[in-house]
Point group: C2
DNA sequence: GTTTCATGTCATGTTTTCTAACATATAACT
DNA sequence: AGTTATATGTTAGAAAACATGACATGAAAC
């Protein structure tokens, strides 16, 4: 699903569209930017360009505000989330290398022991 | 997958973005509109607004042009596709009513035969 | 060598967005 | 009560993007 991620993170929406999609005013959207809650791209002509992910994030911000959080609180939550996500990715890459280890082990067994009864293409292995 | 369809058909992109995404000039994009190959929405201020589906369609148009088709040909192909799709939908709804028929039959069996050995909440039934 | 088609280019007007500044309501604090 | 901070409204002026319409043009078709 890499193409989907790309689509969601492509900065293609002008602020007017984002206003409609989020029901926020331009003032609010820009203010959240000064508070470093979002960081839209810029066009050649310096216009802000938002991605679908940005829209989601703005909707999140709205929710948190409704719950009474302030800018600092929301900023903190977002940083938390980011850390969490990085952690997950790290875990995933670790898992992957575990699999790699298994594969390497498998190869070594094959080479060391020769084929004693097991077919090299045995379904149990990979 | 209804939300996804909605997302893909939401008119949110200004022509400048579409130009970058398709590598077409504004002139070309507007011309294809006069040829009724696309029909973007309009904002309150009369700006054209395109959906992701529109972008896909424009990329298709590009391909067909590269293959030597002209506007009329492409228009024809699109109409063809639309018919085809409508046909598919009709077929699907027919299939659905077949299922309905089965369900009705099932209900009737229950009512007619009474509960001879089958529990009314038997997992096999619905 | 005209026509037609698809596109380029230019002019002019309108809409959208930008930044920056000043204003204000609400909540928090002393 | 008076002050302060926060989040947002409002306004002004400039720049960018977009709309429409007209005229221009290269390539293909006839």
């Amino acid at each position: 699903m890499k193409e989907k991620e790309l689509r969601r993170s492509l900065a293609v929406l002008p602020i007017g569209t984002v206003m409609k999609l989020t029901n926020l005013t331009a003032r609010q959207i820009r203010y959240y930017e000064t508070q470093e809650l979002i960081k839209p791209e810029r066009s050649d002509g310096n216009r802000r360009l938002y991605s679908l992910n940005d829209v989601d994030r703005l909707l999140e911000i709205k929710d948190y505000l409704d719950e009474g959080l302030n800018m600092a609180g929301i900023r903190e939550i977002f940083m938390q989330k980011q850390l969490d996500q990085e952690h997950r990715k790290e875990q995933q890459s670790k898992t992957l290398t575990d699999d790699d280890v298994r594969e390497i082990l498998h190869d070594e067994i094959l080479r060391a022991g020769g084929l004693q009864g097991m077919s090299p293409t045995s379904p149990k292995l990979r």
